[in-house]
């Protein structure tokens, strides 16, 4: 291992990397490997049938689309919120800042129950939008709302520190060169923010795909329409179909993993490009 790293004068490489890998293996990798082994109890055709049956495919669609839209909403608003929190002073700023972390801390089941009571047809917001013919709870829109809630901190908290560290020299230089604010933002600030925005998006998206606790309350769980993939995993378990459950779980896992890998590579690539330029 030592041979493939570049020399560094700093100590602790083997210690920290060794510990990282050990702990990672114990807590994450070995348990996840169990998933693969259990799935191996199915033959390939069985596996294929399980993960491509129409209801399962429909649930991927629901889970992926709602998570995607929710993450998108969070990127847009998360950027604005992070910007406001870093750049401006206004009354109540601390409160807004503190509220951002609440979705991390609130048990997902509580979030689900609270959101359902707000967006159900007889809830505060549900009542408001019902005359418009809009239904939120028990539709894919409701799932998206829940996932927006779950994903809020991811984007804000990844963008915020980068924005904070952003040297204003460059902005000043741009201004000196006669650039206007919007142009400065687009050409100077935004490129710096792309990596954290991507990370935030990926984290919110990946979390959204797997979210269960808050979604089951608000989704209505209608097969083919609002049934999410994690619910199908539970369904399989209730039927004592362990290997089918793990098969679907594995699909989710591979999906999330691939996504994270792509985004992390993208981010490092853009980091390097930024540094070298």
């Amino acid at each position: 291992m030592a041979s493939i790293r570049t020399k560094s004068v700093l100590p602790g490489y083997r210690l920290t990397l060794g510990f990282t890998i050990l702990y990672l293996s114990l807590i994450v990798l070995i348990p996840l490997a169990g998933l693969v082994v259990k799935t191996a109890g199915l033959t390939l055709p069985q596996l294929w049938d399980t993960v491509t049956s129409p209801r399962v495919v429909a649930s991927y669609r629901v889970s992926l689309l709602t998570a995607f839209y929710a993450a998108l909403v969070n990127v847009v608003f998360g950027l604005i919120v992070a910007w406001v929190l870093v750049r401006y002073r206004f009354p109540g700023k601390k409160i807004v800042d503190g509220l951002i972390d609440i979705p991390f801390a609130l048990p997902t089941a509580v979030a689900g129950i609270a959101l359902t009571s707000i967006y159900a047809p007889n809830g505060w917001i549900g009542k408001l939008v019902e005359p418009l013919g809009l239904k939120i709870a028990y539709t894919p829109l409701g799932i998206t709302v829940a996932l927006i809630f779950i994903g809020v901190p991811f984007v804000v908290r990844t963008v915020q520190p980068v924005l904070q560290d952003l040297e204003s020299d460059m902005e000043e230089a741009a201004v000196l060169l006669g650039a206007y604010r919007w142009r400065t933002f687009r050409k100077v600030i935004l490129p710096e923010l792309v990596p954290p925005l991507l990370t935030g998006f990926a984290l919110a998206f990946a979390r959204g795909i797997g979210e269960y606790g808050s979604v089951v309350f608000i989704s209505g769980n209608m097969p083919l329409k609002t049934e999410i993939t994690p619910l199908l995993i539970i369904t399989k378990l209730e039927q004592y179909e362990y290997s089918q459950a793990t098969a679907i779980a594995l699909v989710l896992l591979v999906l999330s993993f691939g996504l994270l890998l792509i985004i992390n590579s993208l981010q490092r690539w853009s980091n390097r490009r930024l540094r070298s330029s």
Binding site: L15, S117, P121, Y138, G220, I234, L237, Y240
Partner: protein
């Protein structure tokens, strides 16, 4: 990896600390459980005070001291067993002088069964349907013929499926065929994840079967129409009740009779119970988990616990919690509470739970046919 050895001193130190920490945690809790499995008076506190708990003496003399039982049950029985446990603890104390503490665990019937199968040490299981206990038998936790161990199919109380409608029955729902009307919205949990919902489904199936003389195509069509009227398919029975009473969605809730009564009790007179012309005899069975009681030495108290369900006292408590009692004299006393209706049985009309599960609820079963794309 050879270089590892050179740095051994510092790196193995950290590893040691972590390993020690993890082992302490695991073993502390392990011994805690060992202790409680000996029937000692382990504290409810789950803190890692394993060392202290270790000193508690194992109850080698079963009739003294105290004993703990774990009853793993399904969702709607919480209130029933809170009352029943209290009564049984008193009875057991009088009979033997021993203090018994009964721990309760509730959840969806299927997931509760699975937990026991996966190692949750339940002395007794009281689940929603025999299929879930059959799964335990398949796993070798109890005997194949467990259902013969106690009277009445090991089901000390029964229930059935009824309709809960809003006050005044505005949609005039009287029977199953009203549920497929275009203007009626039906709330039921998902039969795939809820034991109660499977009884709902089978009751509807039974009704349609009688209507159409067993013509399967027509029966399936009936159920398809029924489920087309379901706007929200919660994963559990309690979830459906909440959707119906709190969110005010739907015109009729298909529910356990006891659940319907309980909802009526909790929410006052905003609801009415409609008894359909035909329903199904729901028999929530009970069983001793042989493997666990033999290991923990709790067979005697576990058996007494379940038998107590059949006594007049136990039956009375069941009736008070809206379960239909088996004992004739108690049934007579509560006969106004439980209207008579035609009841199908799972063994007589559906060939037993294994058969019903395979035909209707397993993958590709009739329930899956209802939800096929494009329909």
């Amino acid at each position: 990896m050879n270089q590892w050895k050179k740095r051994k001193s510092s790196s193995s130190f950290i590893l040691l600390i972590v390993a020690a920490l993890m082992i302490t945690v695991l073993s502390a809790c392990g011994s805690n459980n060992k202790n409680s499995s000996n029937g000692g008076n382990s504290s409810a506190s789950p803190s890692a005070s394993g060392a202290a708990a270790e000193s508690a003496s194992p109850s080698s003399t079963p009739k003294k001291g105290s004993v703990e039982l774990l009853n793993v049950s399904y969702d709607p029985t919480r209130e029933l067993y809170v009352a029943f446990n209290e009564s049984f603890a008193k009875y057991w104390k009088e009979q033997t002088g021993q203090t018994v503490k009964i721990n309760q665990s509730h959840g969806g019937s299927g997931s509760q069964g699975r937990k026991v199968l996966d190692g949750l040490e339940a002395d007794v299981v009281t689940l929603a349907l025999a299929y879930d206990i059959d799964a335990l038998a398949d796993g070798g936790l109890l005997k194949e013929d467990w259902q013969k161990q106690f009277e009445n199919n090991s089901s000390p109380y029964t229930s059935t499926i009824v309709f809960l409608v809003r006050k005044g029955n505005p949609k005039n729902i009287k029977d199953w065929n009203d549920l497929i009307r275009d203007d009626v919205k039906v709330i039921t949990p998902n039969p795939k994840t809820s034991g109660g919902a499977r009884w709902n489904y089978l009751a509807a199936w039974g009704y349609a079967s009688q209507q159409f003389g067993g013509d399967e195509a027509k029966i399936k069509d009936f159920l398809k129409k029924l489920f087309a009227n379901v706007p929200v398919l919660d994963s559990g029975a309690r979830g459906s009740t909440t959707t119906f009473v709190e969110r005010k969605i739907g015109d009729v809730l298909l529910a356990w009779e006891n659940e319907a009564y309980l909802a009526k009790k909790e929410y006052g007179d905003d609801y009415e119970i409609v008894t359909p012309s035909l329903s199904i005899l729901a028999e929530p069975p009970v069983a001793i988990v042989d493997k666990v009681v033999d290991k923990r030495g709790t067979r005697e108290v576990a058996e007494a616990y379940l038998k107590y369900l059949y006594t007049p006292e136990g039956q009375e408590i069941a009736a008070q919690n809206f379960y239909r009692p088996r004992l004739p004299e108690v049934a007579e006393k509560y006969k106004d509470q439980f209207p008579q209706l035609n009841l199908l049985t799972i063994d007589g009309d559906f060939g037993g739970w294994r058969e019903a599960q395979k035909k209707h609820f397993a993958d590709g079963g009739t329930f899956d046919e209802i939800y096929t794309p494009g329909s």
